[in-house]
Symmetry: C2
Subunit: 394 residues, 2 copies
Amino acid sequence: MQFVESKFAKHMQPINGSAIREIFKLLAKPGMISFAGGNPSNTALEPEVVSDLAREALEKYGATLLQYGATDGFNPFRESAAQFLRGSQVNCTADDILPTQGGTQAFDVLLKALIDPGDAVLCESPTFLGAIQAMREYNAKLVPMPTDDNGVIVEAAEELIKQHHPKLMYVIPTFQNPTGITLSLERRKALAALASKYGVVIAEDDPYRDLRYSGDPLPSIQSFDEEGWVVYMSSFSKYIAPGLRVGAAAVKNPLLRRKMVIGKQSADTHSPLLNQAIVDAYIRKGLMPAHLARICGDYKKQLSAMLDCFKYFPKGTTHTVPQGGLFVWAGLPGGMDAMKAFEAAVAANVAFVPGTHFYPEGGHENTLRLNFSMCDIPTIEAGMAKLGKVISDM
Amino acid sequence: MQFVESKFAKHMQPINGSAIREIFKLLAKPGMISFAGGNPSNTALEPEVVSDLAREALEKYGATLLQYGATDGFNPFRESAAQFLRGSQVNCTADDILPTQGGTQAFDVLLKALIDPGDAVLCESPTFLGAIQAMREYNAKLVPMPTDDNGVIVEAAEELIKQHHPKLMYVIPTFQNPTGITLSLERRKALAALASKYGVVIAEDDPYRDLRYSGDPLPSIQSFDEEGWVVYMSSFSKYIAPGLRVGAAAVKNPLLRRKMVIGKQSADTHSPLLNQAIVDAYIRKGLMPAHLARICGDYKKQLSAMLDCFKYFPKGTTHTVPQGGLFVWAGLPGGMDAMKAFEAAVAANVAFVPGTHFYPEGGHENTLRLNFSMCDIPTIEAGMAKLGKVISDM
């Protein structure tokens, strides 16, 4: 008998993988300038430092690092992750920390703990593609929340809560992916209050928080939560190295943390101990502040160069002016289609992600996401000039 | 509003975590002799080797190992994993390999790809606790298959297939956890034929395969499969180090592999590259054969010592005589209760896992699982003498 697609679980049948990961295949073309990814700069990565920390950790802990570990996590890492997150205005102790495979797994085990097929989840629109895919795999009903230049519009979110009774709200509060927008202080307080008032868990996905190039840092939504409704999801992917796959969720509610641990037991038993020990040592040795200062200094200049280059784009193009993160979000004027621009751009050796992919409900074909962290300044200038010409020529 | 347990997804509400992980908490007691775990011996782990391989990999690949990687896997690892598995009589090329977080994640993404709530899954009874928990989290209907000293009874399995129309069959063919039993050659062929005849995917979970201390190695079920129905799940946890969390699934069916990759995208984006590179180098440098020979030499003596020590147990105790792996399975005579024995044994500072936990349908209170890899021979003798006395005194 031949395998047929109808064997797949119903919720998995329509899911054909990340549009971005398909776009990545086009990037192998020689000479391609890519504003499509969301990777840190290669110059931000430190293979020699990681090598030294791995050696020191294996000398210090020996076979312990190679044995099975607790699903709850490697305690030295939980301590240093909690210390790091407290410095980022997150309210937590080591006991609240669940190590995860990047921020991705934190959201996956949270969905596993909470979502029955058909349950409503509120999310920003546009939002992170990976999160849209994850929610669909749990057969959640995605309810897009209206946003403006200060993030989620709280009054609209409250109406949607009353209407859809969601178990979960997914928010990227700082330098949002894909828009680069930051949720204001007042709205952070208001969302925490909504969570508590209506009994909605908030997944606060905050992996860009410490990539700030201007303005003042803001407290997390989680810091205003007194009853344990907010799960704060951090990641060391953008700060140290995505390839290590080390994230940390701060989960103050012990019932919810325990259920996430149980979900993680069956997902991967535990996170690799060597990787947790490397990140632990990185934080414990105090390497993070100088490293973040260095990479933020570089990214700030790259962002500034990209923003300057909108002069090459047709009149009427709008774009965000983020205070940090990795992305700028643009809107083309007069009904122009970024999907068509994408084809012409790739032919001219420059790539971005059409914005429509980030909307759970589709549409918004005039939008696009541009990443500035992976190109140096001359490349940003050359790529934006090319892209501006391609779009102007349409 | 306070968080209440009814917020949890329905299938997660009754799941309270691994019984074994609860037993582990008792093992911290000073002087405890534990036959409860399933860990490799600490003497089998090689922190200095891993440290050297990590350094070499980071020198060779540099920032590439710290960037985002493909969900499909790190190609050098896929090549060496395929080479290793071909040596274990698995039919595969690098393109068939999906790197996973131990064998655990391979099964998790396979369940995600296939199982709708209520779908039947056939499994051995008793079987691996972690697999039982994973199947329950996907709300599968577990259908236990009768087994004997040669593993799954094929005729009974065929009847159950006709009756329950399962999408999936979960089998641990070699030195099974918990029984230590090995599926015979004829039955391997027959199960592959059943899969193809009825369109049932077989999850062949084979993490102990190369821990063989006597008898001849057998080809995998997968090697008899001509249509891509068998997913072979291997792991380097028992061969190199569980703490690294590196496994490999060989999935010849491209539709199924693609859907597993999509499930993994949302689960953890990709497996950490450094860990894949360490295992790749371990295999590529040819370290595996001598390492397996050394640890199998040790484990063989430990197994033999444990088998000898059943002389301390009451007359009528039965036990398996495995040709490899990490476990011996015993049955106490005359309606004795291993759960009660467990309490008395822990009080006397010796631990095991009561066998009832391994049965999806419960019962079988007279059975117990004993691990021999984590204790040296004098400790095995002391612990078995104590345990035999506790049981005889009941």
